[in-house]
């Protein structure tokens, strides 16, 4: 089974997205042969009130339980964040927490963030930390957002050794620093080179900590998929990366 660990529902404020709605995502799944996607709300990244995007995600995903799994995109600085996260768990059936510290204007090491992670750990939720949404060189001039600092990821990984942290949108140069933390996982949508990086990552950290992720509909899902399909690794490793790891981490 092929499971994409990182997809989004919704529009980008600065660019037309052909496949941004639920039908678009389904088309991308069908054309690539991906069985299932872990999806979060793009609206919840950009809107002040993160709740509406999550509500929309819930309403759209519930028709397709076999194709999509929701993550709660929570801004811990927004009033009632923890209570709303519990609603995402109990009512919406979301399976993990998604954080965008750089877009929501806080540091992972801030008290509000630590409290949220602590609460999500009680739900046994994995935490997906999105390091960036776009290449910093190509952002809109109105929204220049630096990547989430790697050192903050290391701090929370150390503070919460039992929590599984999945890093999305990681640049290759950021990876090695995080390798020593066994509870840090990676998806490959921004892992652009060099040529044998997937093979090297498997050598360094093992295939159990690498997840296939597309960052669709912003990026061609075929890019991340082909990278794993053609990687010079064993079939067992490939199977883990393409789906088994995601299945285990999110208890699907």
């Amino acid at each position: 089974m092929i499971i994409d660990s990182n997809a989004y529902l919704g529009g980008d404020p600065f660019r037309e997205l052909k496949y941004g709605n639920i039908k678009g995502l389904l088309k991308l799944l069908d054309r690539t042969g991906i069985d299932k996607s872990i999806v979060s709300s793009m609206k919840s990244i950009y809107h002040t009130n993160h709740e509406t995007g999550n509500l929309e995600l819930f309403s759209k995903l519930k028709k397709y339980p076999n194709r999509f799994v929701g993550l709660a995109c929570i801004n811990p600085t927004f009033p009632g964040a923890i209570k709303f996260m519990h609603l995402c768990y109990s009512k919406f059936g979301f399976r993990g927490l998604k954080l965008h510290p750089n877009y929501h204007g806080y540091r992972l090491t801030d008290e509000v963030s630590l409290k949220l992670i602590e609460e999500s750990a009680k739900l046994d939720w994995p935490v997906h930390i999105q390091m960036r949404m776009k290449d910093e060189r190509m952002q809109h001039f109105l929204m220049q957002v630096a990547g989430t600092p790697v050192k903050d990821v290391l701090s929370v990984a150390e503070l919460f050794p039992k929590v599984k942290f999945i890093l999305g949108g990681t640049k290759p140069r950021e990876l090695p620093e995080t390798y020593k933390y066994g509870n840090v996982y990676f998806e490959n949508s921004f892992v652009s080179g060099p040529q044998n990086i997937i093979r090297e990552m498997v050598k360094q950290v093992g295939s159990a900590r690498i997840l296939f992720g597309t960052h669709m509909p912003l990026l061609y899902p075929e890019a991340a998929l082909l990278m794993i399909r053609m990687a010079d690794i064993s079939e067992e490793d490939r199977k883990r990366i393409l789906g088994e790891n995601c299945k285990n981490i999110y208890s699907l």
Binding site: R137, G193, Q195, P217, L218, Y220, E222, L226, R229, M230
Partner: protein
């Protein structure tokens, strides 16, 4: 036939062997390479102002790769236009004596700088295309690469030299702007490599420029061949347009034998 119009050799032949091996898995039969990466003692990161002896040596490494993979690897002569006289001489030698098929200009000198003009004139005389790096950065030019050209600067150069053929690298970085910046200049092509594989970039290039002005490149070994070729293979365009981008266009503008 698939042609990768934008690849590099860096410091080791092992890396070149890996690149050719990866290319063969996708039936990429021809790879156009240049060497733009240099190190210098006491300089952090890549050295961005290579002296003639450095770029001459770099081009000889490219030539070695051409000999190692005849018919597969084709070389571009990389020069630093700030050393104008030496650059013109080197281009002549690389094309006439070593059989290189074009010129690579990177981030040493702005496309609008008059040092570049004799280089372009030599390319017109030798009838070879110029692969010119271009990247429009949010927030202005990079401190480490102040002479990195934008698509607008490359467009100025292309207007000045309508008889020259330019390949704008990376669709100009910010591809939505890059495509529009060179849209009306028929002597400018774009290559698809670099940046994240943004869904829609290849489609927009085809819609705005026509598939005949779009070229497939990988930026290998800096970037992964799989992710780069997926952009073209996955794009919502016709098979005919894909064929043009993946190789037919390259064979039309580059002398690949």
């Amino acid at each position: 036939m698939i042609v990768d119009v934008h690849a590099h050799v860096r410091f080791s032949f092992d890396e070149v062997d890996e690149m050719v091996k990866a290319a063969k898995r996708f039936d990429i039969e021809k790879i156009v390479v240049s060497r733009v990466h240099f190190y210098k003692e006491d300089v952090e990161g890549y050295y961005r102002n290579p002296e003639p002896e450095m770029f001459v040596e770099g081009n000889r490494m490219v030539y070695e790769c051409m000999r190692r993979y005849p018919g597969t690897i084709f070389g571009l002569a990389f020069v630093n236009p700030l050393y104008t006289e030496e650059s013109v001489k080197e281009i002549e030698a690389c094309v006439k004596e070593l059989g290189m098929v074009g010129v690579k200009l990177h981030v040493e000198c702005l496309a609008t700088d008059s040092h570049v003009f004799p280089i372009i004139e030599k390319c017109i005389e030798l009838d070879v295309p110029i692969l010119h790096h271009a990247w429009l950065r949010t927030g202005g030019k990079s401190k480490s690469m102040p002479n990195e050209s934008t698509p607008f600067e490359l467009a100025e150069l292309a207007i000045r030299y309508p008889d020259a053929t330019f390949q704008m690298a990376h669709v100009g970085g910010n591809w939505e702007v890059g495509i529009k910046a060179i849209k009306d200049l028929d002597n400018v092509y774009v290559d698809t490599c670099g940046g994240e594989p943004a869904l829609g970039a290849v489609e927009m290039a085809v819609e705005e420029l026509g598939a005949k002005r779009v070229l497939f490149g990988t930026d290998a070994p800096v970037r992964i061949v799989e992710a780069e070729i997926a952009k073209v293979l996955a794009a919502d365009i016709s098979s005919y347009e894909k064929k043009l981008i993946l190789g037919d266009n390259a064979r039309r503008i580059i002398n690949l034998g």
